[in-house]
């Protein structure tokens, strides 16, 4: 029982820190509210789908930034899609950087786009690591409870 409470506390602490540090926003809570006994891993499944699907968009954006001349219209379209997906899972820091990218894109500022894209990739990777750890903890908590 002590171990269960300990893991549960770790889960709660980590979850709170993800919100307090601005990695996640209310949309993540919307996803949590859709989780139930029939869909116990819904949030993890959505996040996994996000990272699998957005890898393609990241690649497209990378290529579009590499091409000369840069097609800012296409770049904006890709980023619009990526921002939409990021917003749908509550990835707050990623979304904010995407918004900044689109400002540079509309202005035709290639340097600004490149710099911001590096930030986006950092936030994207950082969130992935944190969520992987979080879901591992959640899984441990589930196993501890059923033991």
């Amino acid at each position: 029982m002590d171990n269960t409470n300990q893991v549960r506390q770790q889960v709660a602490n980590m979850r709170r820190s993800l919100f307090d540090q601005g990695y996640l926003d209310d949309q993540f809570i919307q996803l949590e509210d859709l989780q139930d006994d029939a869909n116990p891993k819904f949030v993890e499944e959505v996040v996994t789908l996000y990272y699998n699907d957005s890898a393609r968009l990241i690649q497209n954006i990378e290529q579009a930034l590499f091409n000369r001349p840069i097609d800012f219209g296409k770049l904006d379209d890709y980023m619009h899609q990526f921002k939409g997906s990021s917003s749908s899972i509550g990835a707050k820091k990623v979304k904010i950087e995407c918004q900044q990218f689109r400002v540079y894109c509309i202005a035709g500022n290639a340097d600004g786009c490149s710099r911001t894209f590096q930030q986006i990739k950092q936030e994207y990777a950082c969130l992935r690591r944190k969520l992987q750890t979080y879901f591992q903890l959640v899984s441990q908590a589930g196993q501890a409870e059923s033991a």
């Binding site: 949309q27 919307q30 996803l31 509210d33 859709l34 139930d36 869909n39 819904f42 499944e45 959505v46 789908l49 996000y50 699907d53 379209d77 619009h80 899609q81 921002k83 939409g84 997906s85 917003s87 749908s88 899972i89």
Partner: protein, 128 residues
């Protein structure tokens, strides 16, 4: 009482998954398609939906074109535009295509309930 039936029209697979689950959670039978053309085709086959959640930016046929086409076909289902486009001009163009409502993404349970509330009040809903 017959269950409501909904159609999710969105090319983004994350949104497809979320909107499908949102509707499931409210006990609404639903089908998912990936673009406007598929939305038109599913209606051409005679299937009826009480509510359509229509994304705007989609390949092959976007939400504006699909909404216009569905209205031309005589489809009177409640069509709610669900998009990230926030400019008034873009919203206006989408509404003029024949939407009954417009919600900004990401869609939440509260926004979906707001759509369903409008369906009840509009009287468009047709139990078949």
């Amino acid at each position: 009482m017959n269950k409501l039936r909904a159609l999710v029209v969105d090319d983004n697979i994350i949104n497809q998954m979320i909107h499908h689950r949102l509707l499931d959670n409210l006990g609404i039978e639903n089908q998912v398609v990936g673009n406007g053309k598929e939305a038109v085709d599913v209606h051409s086959s005679g299937t009826y939906f009480d509510v359509i959640l229509m994304d705007m930016d989609m390949p092959i046929m976007n939400g504006i074109e699909a909404t216009k086409k569905l209205r031309e076909m005589g489809i009177r289902s409640f069509i709610a535009g669900v998009t990230t486009r926030a400019l008034e001009q873009e919203k206006g163009e989408f509404m003029e295509a024949g939407l009954d409502d417009y919600q900004e993404k990401p869609l939440t349970t509260a926004k979906l309930l707001s759509i369903l509330h409008k369906i009840n009040h509009s009287g468009i809903h047709n139990f078949s």
